[in-house]
């Protein structure tokens, strides 16, 4: 459905992010073994693989949760030193988890500004301005969102996800990492999130999408990188392959020979 758009990505320039020859071992187990992937502006790259294939470890290196044993990360062609989630933020890399991203007892505005609260000169948090800003961005992203004053634990999965995504958009993320963004959502909410992703693409963000659902990846991604046993099986243009090709890569580690 989205395959017509995927050919329009311009990959002649410098990638937004490049991870080169990344290796990470945990006590003798090679979780990630010499993997290189990249991401261009306006592109969604799916990361596929079994549990334990190494995709989460790889992406946690990019988001600053782990440090790679070897290899390098380039942002806009410049070598980037990412040692903590805070560093990742400074490179405009934002991570969105299905369940982990929000503080349940706080309201939408507090969650939007988590760790970056607006304060006045006295250091007092400015709740009124934060709520106004939240209303502004929500009217763009999810106009039906009404529960600004309620703790986010009372929101539906889709509403929670829109709070998490609005945070990334508000703070001008350029690189978005989404870990199974639709895993706990209903059909309609999944549709809403996938529309959001298309909008973010148009604004030139690059998105890494970790997902188990091949159908979802075929629909939303431009390219897919498949990992198995810590190694990169290959990266393919989603438009050039079938779901069976992707399945073969995931299960058998077989590259269909259509590398992108």
């Amino acid at each position: 459905m989205m395959s017509t758009e995927s050919t329009a990505i311009d990959r002649s320039g410098t990638p937004l992010v490049e991870m080169r020859n990344i290796t990470k071992t945990f006590g003798g187990v090679r979780a990630v073994d010499d993997v290189s992937i990249n991401l261009y502006p306006g592109e969604v790259v799916g990361l596929l693989g079994h549990n334990g294939a190494g995709k989460s470890t790889l992406i946690k290196i990019l988001s600053g949760a782990y440090r790679a044993d070897s290899g390098e990360i380039l942002v806009d062609g410049q070598k980037a030193d990412i040692g903590s989630p805070r560093d990742a933020r400074n490179y405009n890399i934002e991570t969105i988890y299905q369940t982990l991203a929000l503080a349940d007892n706080l309201d939408a505005a507090s969650n939007l500004f988590l760790g970056r609260e607006l304060t006045n000169r006295m250091g007092i948090v400015d709740d009124a301005t934060m709520e106004a800003e939240t209303r502004k961005i929500m009217s763009r992203l999810n106009p039906n969102f009404r529960k600004f004053a309620a703790p986010v634990k009372s929101l539906s999965g889709g509403q929670r996800q829109s709070v998490a995504i609005s945070r990334a958009v508000y703070f001008n993320a350029r690189i978005l990492i989404m870990d199974e963004p639709t895993a706990a959502l209903g059909v309609q909410e999944t549709e809403m999130v996938s529309e959001l992703i298309q909008e973010l693409k148009k604004q030139g963000l690059g998105i890494f999408l970790i997902d188990h659902d091949i159908h979802q990846v075929m629909r939303m991604c431009d390219r897919a990188s498949v990992m198995k046993n810590g190694e990169l099986v290959g990266t393919v243009n989603v438009a050039d392959v079938t779901e069976d090709d992707l399945l073969g890569m995931i299960i058998l580690g077989k590259n269909p020979g259509k590398a992108a």
Binding site: S63, A65, P85, R86, R89, T95, Y97, L100, A101, L102, A103, D104, N105, L106, S110, L114, G115, R116, E117, T119, G123, I124, V125, R135, S139, R140, L141, P143, R146, K147, F148, A149, E199, K202, Q203
Partner: protein, 332 residues
């Protein structure tokens, strides 16, 4: 922005339950009602209760403990706990009494009390944040460790002879019946209320208690915030040690024995979630008043201490069970 195309903000009311309703359902209001009831019961129990000087005396039942409870509330909201606070009081008091033997004056004693409090807090904080040990285990250990040092130094002896200027910190009056301790209580309540509810530091405390992973990924320095909270709890214990030592006029190793339980009771009774992530300073303030008045009222009735602790325990369980019982009965 392209996202704005085709979408226009619509205006629906987004609060189906109003502000008034939220206050009516709040824990703080329930607690306040209980405080009023206990106050009325106390006036019935003793004709001397309403005497201003008597009420002033009553405040000693909660001022020192509640100072620690404010810092403890933040610590528990962040998902940690410090059970060594009474041990810190014992150690700080012993250190001050020991220094007194060398002729250290009031300013020096105060400095020593604060320093020991901070050092003990730092010790707990380093073990929890650097070594990643669970705070409940660490502070159960340091609870015995800190008080154990006091026992080694003092044995069955006591340090006496604190100067009057030092005693004033525990028994002095700032104005009429308003004690120095009560003034500290009010000042600290305001400070901690503003810090927890109105600063980004307070927001980070809530976030860490709600979701430490989200906090870390939001760029919050989780370990640093927790370290600060352990330091604050230690410091407040040091301040409580100064007040209590001044008030009692002597140091024994059994000073403030089992206070950690009363402090935690105060915090939990105040509506702070023992699981972290929720609670308010207002709740802790009212809980302090409730506990203070209950113990004092029972004291007026000559109820022995052990019965008092039974009563406080029953009150804690009762108040916490009440809202759940009500919702269960409503569902039927």
């Amino acid at each position: 922005m392209s996202l704005a195309e085709g979408t226009r903000p619509r205006n629906f009311p987004d609060r189906l339950t109003g502000r008034g309703q939220r206050i009516l359902r709040s824990w703080e209001l329930l607690l306040f009602v209980i405080a009023v009831l206990i106050f009325i019961a106390n006036t019935q129990a003793s004709p001397y209760f309403l005497d201003p000087w008597n009420l002033s005396d009553a405040t000693f039942n909660f001022t020192e403990k509640s100072m620690i409870a404010f810092a403890m509330a933040l610590l528990i909201i962040s998902g940690e706990i410090d059970l060594s606070v009474a041990g810190i009081i014992a150690l700080a008091s012993t250190a001050m009494g020991w220094a007194l033997q060398f002729g250290v004056g009031t300013p020096g004693l105060v400095a020593i009390g604060l320093a020991v409090g901070l050092l003990c807090g730092a010790f707990n904080g380093v073990l929890v944040t650097r070594l990643g040990l669970p705070s409940i285990v660490v502070t159960i250990g340091t609870m015995s460790l800190f008080r154990g040092i006091s026992y080694i130094v003092l044995g069955d002896q006591a340090f006496n002879g604190y100067p009057d200027s030092f005693a004033w910190l525990g028994r002095g009056y700032v104005f009429w019946v308003i004690t120095f301790e009560l003034t500290l209580f009010v000042v600290f309540a305001l400070i901690y209320g503003v810090v927890l509810h109105k600063t980004n530091f307070g927001r980070h405390v809530y976030t860490i208690g709600n979701n430490p992973v989200a906090a870390r990924f939001s760029g919050i320095r989780v370990e640093r915030v927790k370290m600060i909270l352990f330091l604050l709890t230690g410091l407040m214990s040091g301040i409580a040690a100064i007040c209590l030592t001044g008030r009692l006029g002597s140091t024994r190793p059994s000073i403030a024995y089992a206070w950690e339980l009363e402090v935690v009771t105060m915090v939990v009774l105040g509506g702070v979630s023992i699981l972290g992530g929720a609670g308010s300073i207002l709740g802790v303030v009212i809980a302090a008043l409730v506990i203070g008045m209950v113990t004092f009222g029972l004291g007026l009735l000559n109820v022995p201490g052990i019965v008092m602790s039974i009563f406080i325990g029953a009150l804690l369980i009762g108040v916490i069970a009440l809202p759940r019982l009500v919702t269960k009965l409503r569902r039927r």
